[in-house]
Amino acid sequence: MRIYNSLRTGIFRALRSWKSVLIVWFIMFILVSVFMYPLRSSADSAFGTSMITEKLSAGFDIEIFADLGPLFKSLVSFFLSGILMAYLAGFILNSFLTGGLFNIVRENKGQFSGREFFRAGALNFWPFLFISLIVTIVIILLGLVLVRIPSLIAGASETISEKGAFYIVISGIVVFLVIIPLPVLIADYARAWKTVNANSSCFRALGFGFSYTFRNFLSSFFTMVPLIIFQIILGYLILTILSGWRPVTGGGLFLLLIISQLMLCFRILLKVWRYASITYLFEGSIKADPVINNF
C-alpha cells in the first residue's frame, strides 16, 4: 500500500510540477543544441552541394561520412568532445535544476513559482552537486567491480570456458542493474533530506540517504521497480521510433523533432515522478518518526 501511495502521490506531484518539467527540458535542449547546431552546420558545409546525402534516406551510411576524409575525423572529434562537454555542463546544470525539482515536489507546495524553483536550485546547488558527484563515482566504481573487472578476468583466463565467461559477464551486468537503484535511492533520499535540512552538511545527507535506503529497503526498492520499467519502455520506444522513422520532407522532419522532444519531456516527467515518490516516502517517515529528521 505504501508503495502504491508513493507512486500515486508521486505522479500527482510530478504532473503538478509540469512547468518545472518544461524548464528542465528547455534548458537541456538548449544545452545539447549549443553543440549540435554547429555540428549540423559543419555537416552541411562538409557535404556542400553534393547529393550524396540522399543515401541517408535509407539509413545511416558510413561510406558517405568516411568519404569526407579528414573532415570526417574533425566531425567525429567535434561530436565526441561536444558530448563530453554537454555531459559536464549537464552535470552541473542538473545539480541546480534538481534542487528546484526536489523542492517543488514536496508536500503542500501550491502554485508553481519560477522564482522559488530557481531559488531552491541555487540554495541546494553545491550540496546537490556534491551528492551527485559522490554517487556517480560510486556507480562507476560498482560498474568497474561488477562488470569490467570480471569481464577482463573471464576474457583473459584460459581455464574459464566461453560459456562460463559469458555467464560471468552477464551475471555481472545483471547484478549491476539490480544494484543500481540503491545508489540512486541513496542520492534521492539524501537530496530529499537536504531540501528540508538546508543547514546540514552533505555528508550527513548522504549518511541519511544510506541508512534510510537500507532501513526501508523493500518499500524503497519496489517503488523504484515500476519507475525503472516505465523508463525502459520509454527508452525502447524512443529507440524504435527514431530508428524506424525516416522523414523525407521538411514537415516530416519537424514532426520528428516535435515527437522526439515530447518523448524526452515525458522522460523528464518520469524522473520527476521518481523524485516525488521518494520525497513522499521520506515525508511519510518523518511523520511516523520526527526524530529521523534530526539524523
Binding site: 553534393s50 545511416f60 558517405i64 551527485s132 554517487v135 522523414p247 522526439s260 524526452l264
Partner: protein, 655 residues
C-alpha cells in the same frame, strides 16, 4: 634390366601410396607430388613425429639436379628467422616455446642417405638464421619423366599457438608441419624464363604455393582426442589408450589437421559433399549459421565459378584458447571463428566461413603463387566473399545487419582502401613480403577486391561470372599467374562485348593492378546562363533566335566534370534538368576535364557521375554529384536523431 626393376619398384611404391582409397575416380590434377605420412602426436612433449614417404615427378623437359622442400615450422625456431624479422622481431611469449622441425633421416628410393646432401638455403633474403627451405642434391639428376622418391623421418615441435599453428593446453592445430616440396617451374610456366624450383622461405605475409598432391596420412593420437583434417577419414582403430586415424586427401595443396578433447562434431550435406564441422561443444547455437554460411558459399561459387569437386569438406570453429587458428584455409579444411555469444546481426562467423571456404577455389583449385601474387589469392577471394555476403545477407547488410546500423561487406573493403594513407605507395603487383608500411592486407585483399568490383561495374556482373567460369575451366588444378588471369579477362570481355572497351582490357589492369594511381571523378560546377542575343546581329532566318522564339527563357547550361585522380575509367554521367527530364551521358574519363553543354528552355538541376556507384575505386563518392538545391532533409533527420539520443543519454546518465 636393373633400371627397369628400379622403375617397377618405384611404380609399385607410387601405387602403394595412391592405392588405399580412391576418392575421385578421375584425378583432378597432374599429381606431381604425393605424400604418405605416418605420425604420432605426443601431447606432453607437444611434438608430432614419424616418417614421410613422398614423391616428385619431373614433368618438365629439364634435367633437375636437386629437390627443394619447405620446412615451414622452422619459421618459429628463433626470433631471428625471416618470419620474425618481418613480423617486427617480437615473438612475444612464443620465444620461450618455439616451434621447429628436425629431419632425423633422409633417404632416397635406393636407401641412399641424403642428409649429407641437404643444405638450408635462403633464396629470398639470404638470412642465415632462416631454416625454412632445404635443398637436397640428388645422387643422380632427375631426368624428364623421372620420379624422385624420398623417405624422411622427422619430428615437429609445435610452438605455443602462433600464426594458425601450434598448441594451447590440450588444443592442437597442426599446420605447416611436414617437409613439403616446392614447385618446379619449367621455362614458360608462369613467369619462369628457365626451369627452376619456386620454393620461398616462410614469410610473415604468405602461405601457399604447392602442387596438388595426394595425401595418405596416418595419425596416432590419444583416444580421447577428437580429430579432423583436410582428408577423408578412411579408418579409425583403437590401440589401448591411443587411436590411429587414417586420412586420405586427393588433389589438394596442403594438409593440416587438428585434435582437441572438447570438439563436438556435426555433419551436414550439400548435394554430394559431406560437410563436417568441429566446434566447441558449448557453441551449439552457432552450428546452424555456420552450416548455412558454408552451404551458401558452395552454392554461389558452384553457380558462378565452377563445381566444388571433392566429396568432403571439414571446417573448424576453434575454441577461444585456440582462437589463433581461426580464419585459415587448407582447401578441404578451413577454420572459421565464432563465440558462445554471437548476436545474429553481426555476420562475422559467416564472413570468415565464406572467405576461408572461398580459398578452396582461389588458391586451392586455382593454385596461384601466394608468395609472389598474393592479390590473385586473397584479393580475388575477398571479391567473391563480398559478393556472397551481400547476396545472402542483404545488399546493405552483409557484415552488420542492425536496424540502427547496416554495413555491407563491399563497403568495408572499399573504405579500408580509400582511407588508407598508404594506398599509393606500391602497386598490387608485388611479392607478399615487399609491401611496405603494413600495406599487405590493404593491397592484397582490399584494393584488389575494390578494383575487381570496379571491373564488374564496367563489364557487368554476367561478364564477370563468365570470366571466372573461364578462369576456372582453363586453370583449375594448375598454377595460373596474374598474367593468365588478365588474358582470360581479355578473352572473355572480347567475346561478351567485342571491342566496346578496346582491343583488350590491359588499360584497366595497367592502372589498377600494376599502377599506383587513384581514381577520383568530380563534378566541379553547374552553370546555367540565360541565352543572350548575339550583339549586333538581327533576327533572321539563319540565326538561332528564330529557332528559339522565347529567347528570354532560353538557357545554355553546362555541367563541368573533372578527373582529379590519375586513373582513367569510363563513367556514366546522369544530368537532370529543371523540367524533370534526364540525360545519361557517357564519358571515357580520359581528359582531365569535360564539359557537357546544352541549350534549351531548361536548366541543369543536378549532375551525378557514376550514379550507380559502379566505379568502387573512386576514392570520394561525395564529389561525384552536384545540385543547385542540396537535399538537406536526410542529413538533418540524422542530426535531429543524434540530438535526441544525446538528450536521452544525458537524461539517463544524470541523476
Amino acid at each position: 634390366m636393373r633400371k627397369t626393376l628400379i622403375s617397377l619398384a618405384c611404380l609399385f611404391l607410387i601405387i602403394q601410396i595412391v592405392s588405399p582409397q580412391i576418392i575421385n575416380k578421375v584425378p583432378l590434377s597432374e599429381r606431381i607430388t604425393g605424400y604418405k605420412i605416418n605420425v604420432t602426436l605426443d601431447t606432453d612433449a607437444k611434438t608430432v613425429g614419424g616418417n614421410l614417404e613422398a614423391f616428385w615427378i619431373n614433368k618438365s623437359s629439364d634435367t633437375v639436379p636437386d629437390i627443394r622442400m619447405h620446412l615451414y615450422m622452422n619459421a618459429f625456431r628463433s626470433n631471428r628467422t625471416t618470419f620474425y624479422k618481418e613480423s617486427g622481431g617480437s615473438p612475444g611469449e612464443n620465444e620461450k616455446d618455439p616451434g621447429w622441425i628436425e629431419i632425423e633421416s633422409f633417404h632416397d628410393k635406393n636407401d641412399v642417405d641424403l642428409l649429407p646432401m641437404m643444405e638450408f638455403i635462403r633464396p629470398d633474403d639470404g638470412n642465415s638464421e632462416d631454416k625454412t627451405v632445404i635443398r637436397v642434391l640428388l645422387p643422380e639428376p632427375a631426368l624428364p619423366g623421372d620420379t624422385v622418391f624420398v623417405k624422411i623421418d622427422f619430428v615437429t615441435k609445435l610452438p605455443s599457438a602462433i600464426r594458425r599453428t601450434g598448441y594451447t593446453d590440450n588444443y592442437f592445430f597442426v599446420a605447416q608441419w611436414f617437409p613439403k616440396f616446392g614447385v618446379y617451374e619449367p621455362a614458360g610456366m608462369r613467369y619462369a624464363t628457365s626451369g627452376g624450383w619456386n620454393c620461398h622461405q616462410f614469410h610473415a605475409n604468405s602461405e601457399f604455393y604447392s602442387n596438388h598432391s595426394v595425401y595418405d596420412v596416418k595419425i596416432k593420437v590419444p583416444e580421447s582426442y577428437v580429430t579432423g583434417s583436410g582428408g577423408q577419414l578412411i579408418s579409425e582403430t583403437l590401440d589401448g589408450e591411443m587411436k590411429t586415424l587414417v586420412f586420405r586427401a586427393e588433389d589438394i595443396v596442403d594438409f593440416a589437421w587438428t585434435a582437441w578433447t572438447d570438439y563436438a562434431s556435426y555433419n551436414d550435406k550439400w548435394r554430394d559433399v559431406n560437410i563436417i564441422l568441429l566446434i566447441p561443444k558449448e557453441r551449439i547455437k552457432q552450428v546452424g549459421r555456420q552450416f548455412t554460411a558454408v552451404k551458401n558459399a558452395l552454392e554461389y561459387l558452384d553457380q558462378n565459378v565452377g563445381p566444388y569437386p571433392w566429396p568432403h569438406l571439414t571446417f573448424v570453429d576453434p575454441p577461444s584458447i585456440g582462437a589463433g587458428a581461426g580464419g585459415m584455409e587448407y582447401t578441404t579444411l578451413f577454420t572459421s571463428v565464432s563465440s558462445y555469444f554471437m548476436p545474429d546481426f553481426l555476420h562475422i562467423p559467416e564472413l570468415v566461413t565464406i572467405h576461408e571456404f572461398g580459398h578452396a577455389y582461389f588458391m586451392g583449385m586455382l593454385a596461384s603463387n601466394e608468395f609472389e601474387e598474393p592479390w590473385l589469392d586473397e584479393g580475388v577471394n575477398s571479391y567473391w566473399e563480398e559478393r556472397i555476403m551481400d547476396h545472402y545477407y542483404g545488399k546493405n547488410s552483409g557484415v552488420l545487419d542492425h536496424r540502427m546500423l547496416k554495413i555491407p561487406d563491399i563497403t568495408y573493403s572499399r573504405l579500408s582502401y580509400v582511407l588508407s594513407p598508404s594506398r599509393q605507395v606500391i602497386s598490387n603487383n608485388e611479392y607478399s613480403w615487399n609491401y611496405p608500411h603494413g600495406t599487405y592486407s590493404m593491397m592484397s585483399y582490399l584494393k584488389t577486391a575494390t578494383w575487381l568490383h570496379t571491373l564488374e561495374g564496367i563489364v557487368g556482373q554476367e561478364t564477370m561470372n563468365n570470366i571466372f567460369r573461364q578462369y576456372y575451366k582453363k586453370w583449375a588444378f594448375r598454377h595460373p599467374s596474374g598474367r593468365d588471369f588478365v588474358n582470360v579477362v581479355n578473352e572473355v570481355v572480347r567475346i561478351d562485348h567485342w571491342d566496346k572497351f578496346g582491343p583488350d582490357m590491359n588499360w584497366f589492369f595497367d592502372q589498377t593492378l600494376y599502377g599506383t594511381g587513384i581514381c577520383d571523378y568530380k563534378v566541379s560546377g553547374i552553370i546555367n546562363r540565360k541565352y543572350s542575343k548575339p550583339a549586333g546581329k538581327t533576327e533572321s532566318a539563319d540565326t538561332v533566335i528564330t529557332f528559339w522564339p522565347h529567347s528570354d527563357s532560353l538557357y545554355t547550361s553546362t555541367a563541368r566534370l573533372e578527373r582529379a585522380g590519375e586513373i582513367m575509367l569510363p563513367v556514366d554521367v546522369l544530368i537532370h534538368f529543371t523540367d524533370g527530364s534526364e540525360l545519361l551521358e557517357s564519358w571515357d574519363g580520359k581528359a582531365r576535364y569535360k564539359d557537357f553543354k546544352y541549350t534549351g528552355y531548361r536548366e541543369i538541376q543536378w549532375v551525378k557521375i557514376d550514379p550507380d556507384f559502379k566505379i568502387r575505386m573512386d576514392v570520394n563518392f561525395n564529389n561525384n554529384s552536384m545540385t543547385k538545391d542540396p537535399p538537406k532533409v536526410p542529413l538533418h533527420q540524422l542530426i535531429s536523431k543524434i540530438t535526441t539520443f544525446v538528450q536521452y543519454f544525458l537524461s539517463v546518465m544524470l541523476l
